[in-house]
Structures are given as structure tokens and as C-alpha cells.
Symmetry: C2
Subunit: 323 residues, 2 copies
Amino acid sequence: MSKRVDQVLAGDIRAASRLMRDLDDRMPAAINALKSLYRHTGKGYIIGITGNPGAGKSTVVDALIEVYRARQLRVGVVAVDPTSPFSGGAILGDRIRMQRHALDEGVFVRSLATRGHLGGLSRSTFDVVSVLDAMGYEIILVETVGVGQDEIDVMRAVYTSVVVTVPGLGDDIQAIKAGLLEIADVLAVNKADRDGADRTVRDLMHMLDLRGTSPTNSVREVEIIKTIAAHGTRDDSGIADLVAAIDRHRDRMVSGQSGQTRARKRLVAHVAELVKGLLADRAEAALEAQGGLGEVAEAIAAGQTDPYTVAESIVAKLYVDAP
Amino acid sequence: MSKRVDQVLAGDIRAASRLMRDLDDRMPAAINALKSLYRHTGKGYIIGITGNPGAGKSTVVDALIEVYRARQLRVGVVAVDPTSPFSGGAILGDRIRMQRHALDEGVFVRSLATRGHLGGLSRSTFDVVSVLDAMGYEIILVETVGVGQDEIDVMRAVYTSVVVTVPGLGDDIQAIKAGLLEIADVLAVNKADRDGADRTVRDLMHMLDLRGTSPTNSVREVEIIKTIAAHGTRDDSGIADLVAAIDRHRDRMVSGQSGQTRARKRLVAHVAELVKGLLADRAEAALEAQGGLGEVAEAIAAGQTDPYTVAESIVAKLYVDAP
């Protein structure tokens, strides 16, 4: 086992940050280190927080950190939401709020930017989560914008996914339907001091009921919690209720058949993301080897070929099917 | 040239729908038909409409259809937004509004669902756009939720991208910053009869100015238009202004150096998506050949291997590097 692996296992922040950077660059030594680290994972509890921009996800994350820290648990945060203050996309107020965690050695925050890579976001997220898990963070919070496919893929890989919404979306509550409801384990109606919070809860319950009747969906227990995350951990913030709902979901997930099924699904999702990522790496290499496709674009523009034929030949050139 | 290609070129709706379905299933004959059709593309003008759920994208699309139909142009619509009424995710009011277009032979609507495929959304979108283009639709509107990476990739491939936002997001206007501003050719501040519309316009102008000073961004002309799309094409709806802004962008894009550069970028984006898609197909086939990864998950759970090693062996097993 390399020195680097030992350092990360010992919780060395600098070594971990360096490893994460090297993983981003797909350095082979880093990937080998990750393989060694993997057997030390599985102890951290991974919680996903997603929802539309403006729902207050970061504020919820902030309050959750506070609760878990009060429980003496170490918290790792992966922010894959480009609008999150954790990712540097913050407004000033949020940034100031975050800073107290920056001084807390029990909290480690890692931001991931969408880099426009073919590989997407999910692989990097999985990598960082595994490193944090191996480092011994007992709670790992993954904050993501929850609308795109990549983001939904990320949510498939967490243990408990919290979808944050707000009152006053009106008819737009339909928006939440899009993929998000399917992946929600706990629904938080944040900013619940706003008008219409109860209506939003009712609408969500109705949508969950509708979902229950679908032949392709087995009924899953989903709790809906009203929160005012901006109140932090004050009694009226609902954050204690949210954590309790997460705990209940956790209890259901770590025990019994459903827990094991879910664990297997997570592993399958992880492997699928990695396969996708490896193939994307090859695609990128292929495109770069073509000198960035400039000539190919000219040929297509001149009507000499078409994008479909070009794409096939690029793939064929790099790979031949194994016998 | 196959009979099917002739039918599609002649504008046969049933043949086109069948072809799109077959393309979704990646049938080789359908892909060959698409190759034949490709040389007949390039005449349609592709406009992307994106923005956060609740911004009123579908209402904007609806009003745009009306304007272009009044100009006697045939309009194809690709809805890749799961919350769009065009995609079936509508509230009743929207659905009723859409129906008048259902009776208009000059309007063809195709919805795409996120299917959880490794290949993502973009390839299907490109395929449908190419078919609509070859069929002779002069205007092709692509409506998508604009937050995820897949959706941004789609927007890279259109001629003019309209990002729809609303007043009253307050500080959450930062949310728009996330990738969307980067791809916006025209910004529509919809629901402009709400409080704060002018402030939103000012904020957006400020953000565009900030962008202009970035060393990695060349300054691009982006118009900001206030709309009330729910007013349809009434004088106060601002839709005429929006169309005029799209027209001006179009004029800039079809002429001069910037137009040609953009056209090349579109082709490159298209080929990159296709390569990504082809590799994803292979990945899916690989995963299916493994019997859905169930055994692999067991082995990982038992600590016999790790996801990274498994993913590498799956990729290696299927492909060997060509010499």
C-alpha cells in the first residue's frame, strides 16, 4: 500500500485533496490508490440533497452539518451544484454562513465543477465520495442540482436522497415530478413559513399517491417534512424532523431485504458510471487525436460525409471488437 | 435511396414517426436512413428554448409557434423537457392550449423522454432535429430543461438559444449563471408583468457585463427581452420583440466569420455526441452481457473486488485497442 493511501486513511486533508485532483486528471497512480482505498469504504452514510435552484439546498446542507456535528460526527460535503455556495457560486450571505465550517476540522468540503467533459459529473462524484468514506467521514452530504440526467444518476448512488422544494411554485410543482419524485426518499418543503406550504405538502402527497398506483412502481415510504432551514437548528426550523426522517429511512435501508437490494443497486450504478466514464475517456482521446474535429467539420460542411459516418469511423478506428 | 427516406423527405408524418421510433431503438436500417437524409438537412432554423422549470418555456414555445405559423413557416417541435406539456408533463391548462397546434398540419411535435440510458438525451435530440430538418420544417424549436450537462450539450447544437427566466428569483438569479448564461444568445425575462422584472433585467445585464470582462470569454451580443408569453401574440406580450431578437441573432449567425465558426462548432458538437452515444451503446451491451451486473455487485459486496477493477475489465473484455 502506498504512502499516499496511508495518509488518506489517516485523514490527511492535503493528501486527500491532492488525490482528488489527480483523480480528476485520471492519473493511473491515483486510480490505483482509489482501488486500495475502496476496501476501507462502506462506513460513511451518504446522503444526497437535490432540488431546483432557489429551493434552499445549501441552507439545508448547512443546517444538516450543524446537527451532525453536534452529534460528534465528522461530515464530508461534495458540492456538485454550480449554484451552491459550497461550490463557489454563492451570494455573499451564504458565503459568510459557510465560513464557520471552514474552521471546523470535522468538516471537509469538496466542490466539483461541471467541466463539459463527455464523462459527465457522476464519476467524479463517486470518486470523491469513496475517498471521503475511506477517510472516515461518518456522514457524507452530496449536494447537486437535480434536474439533469447526470444529477439523477448521482442520486441513484446515495443511501438516502432528500429532494428539497419550496411552496409557491404553484402549478410548477409538476416540475418536481420530472425524475425527482422517483428518486426521493425524503421530501423537504423548505421555506415553509411562506404562503402555500401546506398546499405544497398536500400536492406532493397526492403525487406520491398517484405514483403508488403505477404498475411499474412499488410503493415506497416517502416522508414529507416542512423546514425553514434559514432558521438553522432552531426548534421551529424543522431540521430535527428532517434528520429524524433521514434516520428512519436509514434504519429501513440498513436492515432487511430492501436495504440489501438498495445496496446492490448502488453498486451496479457505480460500476455503470465507471464504465461510462472509461468509454468517455476513450472517446475524448479519440476526438483529441483527430485534432479537435476541425477537419471533419469542414468535410461535413462540404457535403463529403455526414456526422453519423464520421462518428462510426472514429469509434471503429480506436476500437476493434475483441473476438 | 429507400422508400422510407423518400416518404420522410415528402413530409410523411407516419413514416417520420416510425423512423424516429426506430432511431430510438438504434435499428441499423434507421441509422442508414438518417445518413441518407442528412444531406437534405441544413435548411431548417433550429432554435433552442431553455430555462428553469416554471419560467414558462412552453408558453413561450406556444407563442413562437403562433408567430412563425403566421409567417407561413412550418414548425417542428422537439420537447426534451419532462415538465413540458409538449412532452406530456403538462397541467391541464397547458394541454388545452397545445391542442390547437395538434390540429395544425404545419406543426409537428415530438417528445423525448429521459430514459435513464447511458447515452443521455442529446443524441436522440440531434436525430429528431435532423429528421425534422430533412422533412422541410423551416423552424425547429427544441425545448429543454436547461440545468444539467446533457441539456447544455443540446443547447450547444442549436443556431439560436433562448434562455427563459422570470422576475422574483431574487438572489437565486445566480442560478441562471450556472452554465446557462454562457450558452444564451437571447435572454427572455418572462412573466414580465410581475414585480421586479426591471431589476431582473438589470441583474442580467450586470452579469453579462461581468462575463464580458472574463479573459476566457469573448464578448458576445446578447439581447434581453421582456415577455408575457401568456398573452400569446398580443401587442403587450413582447413575443414580437423576442422573435425580432432571434431574427437579428440569426442574421449575425448566417453571415460572416462568426456564423461559419458557429456552424463548425455545431457540427463538432454533433459528432462528439454521436461518438459518446456509440460508446454508450457498447457500454450498455457490455453491461447487459454481464447479466445486469448482479453477480458483480455480489462480488464487490463480498469484498472480492472493487468497482474500478470491475469496470476496467468490462471495458477491456469488449474492446481491445486497435494497433
